[in-house]
Symmetry: C2
Subunit: 358 residues, 2 copies
């Protein structure tokens, strides 16, 4: 039996419900494939603020560091939106990324054939879309110094945030992106704003230079405004996209929404070594929390990404992804992806269907 | 007879062709409404680089300053893409914006009923979409200091761009946005990244405070990643959007592409006083330049925006917009918006159809 230590961060809103389903799925897959998971639950987000005053308590970060992988559900909610910034749930997320040095964020935007009609885009435009956004996650304008609200010479306030990248930061995310593209269709599109921003100019120069090490990958470049347009116009042109923290935030969300079903999309955040964090793209949906209405599939698929990218257990990941495919084929749908002729189910029932399919 | 001095910047690629059509349209409307236009042509973009070495010669900026409004077509092309940054066409555009202090960029994204099917989105999602993006144009990360590629302490290069806004910069674009919303449906959505960026925090605080002066406008806020999602998911929820330079660059292009016909979209860039610049959203399309294939309608509609926002001649603007509507109803289509059963025309023939319709 191979054994793994997994930190669970159920967080807020629908987090605990979808996490519960996912733990059941993992336990079942474990017993089938002779893997054992040692789950350790820890506080994060609003739940942590309520108990400790901090959105990422020191103890939680320690637990994460000592595990093989971290499974995060969702954090945040109206209740904590008005707190000062250092006490907000999002600040905990940024601290987790920094604390574990999770510089590479992988965000797939995949259209599942069963859910093509959920998209706001025409069937022929989105059918078969399969994009992987590789987003830099611990640099850029999210963390650049100086930042703050300062007094300017004229006596008025001036808000300042700094978008900065060093050579080594660009190099390491670039390598992850080229390697990701190699395992996919071999096409990498780097997105920047090099016609205006100096930081993007450095980005483009270094990504261009890296291409020499990956002759099997076809590299292209787009400005971020054009990339946003092209995602809307003809998303199938993309295979792998690499970009900085802020552009990746925007473009990965736009790409996710092309699918029309963000309740289905997982993500992975990886560091050089140490545990990765795996979480759904969707939020904590406080409006439906505790009502057994949430779609647990993105969380379940995040566990699959954890098995694939974090624990090197591709067979287990394949099985989970196949089970999700099966339940969709069987017509089970939570409210967010419900369509005519399908069978409506709640969060728990969807979980049961997956266990069944496994 | 009222008389106006108009600087024409035909620029590169298809610029001269679509400008020629537009000048004819303006002359005709002038003779109908007893307006006289004194056109002055000046060099900008690649054309200016080739003749003077600079993408915005001093003489051009002077001519612009002495006119009542500036009509720009399109600049740029492969030929100038590899020049050092200070000699690139885009640099001329940024210098024009700075030189005329054009802090407010109005970018409508309107779906014309005749062209609904050109969109990559489903008819029911885009039909009736009518969004105005108010983008701050002379501040933010486009102009913030410090910027450059510096040596970091570790000896590696560090690219730096600074996103900064002062109170007065936010205040003046905010007022333009609220006033724009007042003239539209009275709903204003401010887009920022206040959960991460200090500069956005200041932005949000000030826009929120401004709302007290415009009690008839309903103000909401979205984070930029969510705004990108919502534009794709259900664009009809938006009326007027206000945002900073970079977010506006990205979101206005995404919004434009929702229409599926960016060959139709004009824009206006306005300063406190002094002339505004009016130009199509699309680029210079060097691949079809000089072949009489370009769609001149965005340029013609830019002239309408100029008449409305720059010269206070709404009647003339209305007439031009009605004429564009007529030619579309008549089924005339350039290649970019061609559809089954319609009549294909070139750039000049489209111009003739508009003159006819007037
Ligand atoms: C919550 C927020 C800080 C976060 C981000 O901007 O990175 C979120 O939007 C995301 O994409 O994970
Ligand atoms: C050409 C470029 C500098 C410009 C910008 O980024 O503002 C363009 O994308 C635009 O939106 O007008």
């Amino acid at each position: 039996t191979q054994s793994f230590r997994i930190t669970l961060l159920p967080g807020d809103g629908i987090g605990p419900e979808i996490m519960a389903v996912t733990v059941d799925v993992m336990n079942q897959i474990g017993s089938q494939l002779d893997l054992s998971f040692d789950f350790q639950e820890a506080l994060m987000g609003g739940a942590a603020i309520d108990e400790t005053g901090s959105p990422l308590p020191e103890a939680t970060l320690e637990t994460c560091k000592q595990s093989d992988a971290v499974l995060l559900a969702a954090i945040g909610g109206y209740k904590w939106d008005t707190l000062p910034r250092h006490q907000r749930p999002e600040t905990g997320l940024l601290a987790l990324r920094a604390g574990l040095e999770l510089f590479a964020n992988l965000r797939p935007a995949t259209i599942l054939p069963q859910l093509v009609d959920a998209s706001s885009l025409k069937r022929e435009v989105v059918e078969g879309v399969d994009i992987m956004v590789v987003r830099e996650l611990t640099g850029g304008i999210y963390f650049g110094e100086p930042k703050g609200i300062f007094q300017s010479e004229t006596g008025e306030k001036r808000g300042v945030s700094t978008m900065a990248y060093t050579e080594s930061e660009i190099d390491r995310i670039g390598r992850v992106a080229f390697e990701t593209a190699q395992k996919r269709q071999g096409r990498l599109c780097s997105v920047d704003k090099a016609n205006v921003l100096e930081v993007s100019q450095l980005w483009r120069d270094l990504i261009t230079a890296l291409a020499a090490d990956y002759p099997d990958v076809e590299l292209s470049h787009l400005y971020v405004d054009n990339a946003a347009m092209q995602l809307v116009r003809w998303p199938k042109q993309f295979d792998t996209i690499v970009t900085g923290n802020l552009f990746g935030d925007i473009l990965s969300d736009a790409a996710a929404m092309l699918t029309g079903s963000i309740g289905m999309l997982p993500s992975a955040s990886l560091g050089a070594d140490g545990p990765g964090v795996f979480e759904p793209v969707h939020g904590s949906a406080p409006d439906i929390a505790g009502q057994d209405k949430a779609n647990p599939l993105a969380q379940v698929l995040s566990a699959a990404m954890m098995l694939r990218y974090g624990l090197d257990q591709p067979a287990a990941a394949d099985k989970i992804e196949a089970a999700v495919n099966t339940v969709l084929d069987q017509g089970y749908r939570t409210g967010d992806i419900m369509a005519e002729g399908m069978t409506p189910v709640g969060c728990k029932a969807m979980g049961d269907a997956i266990l069944e399919a496994l």
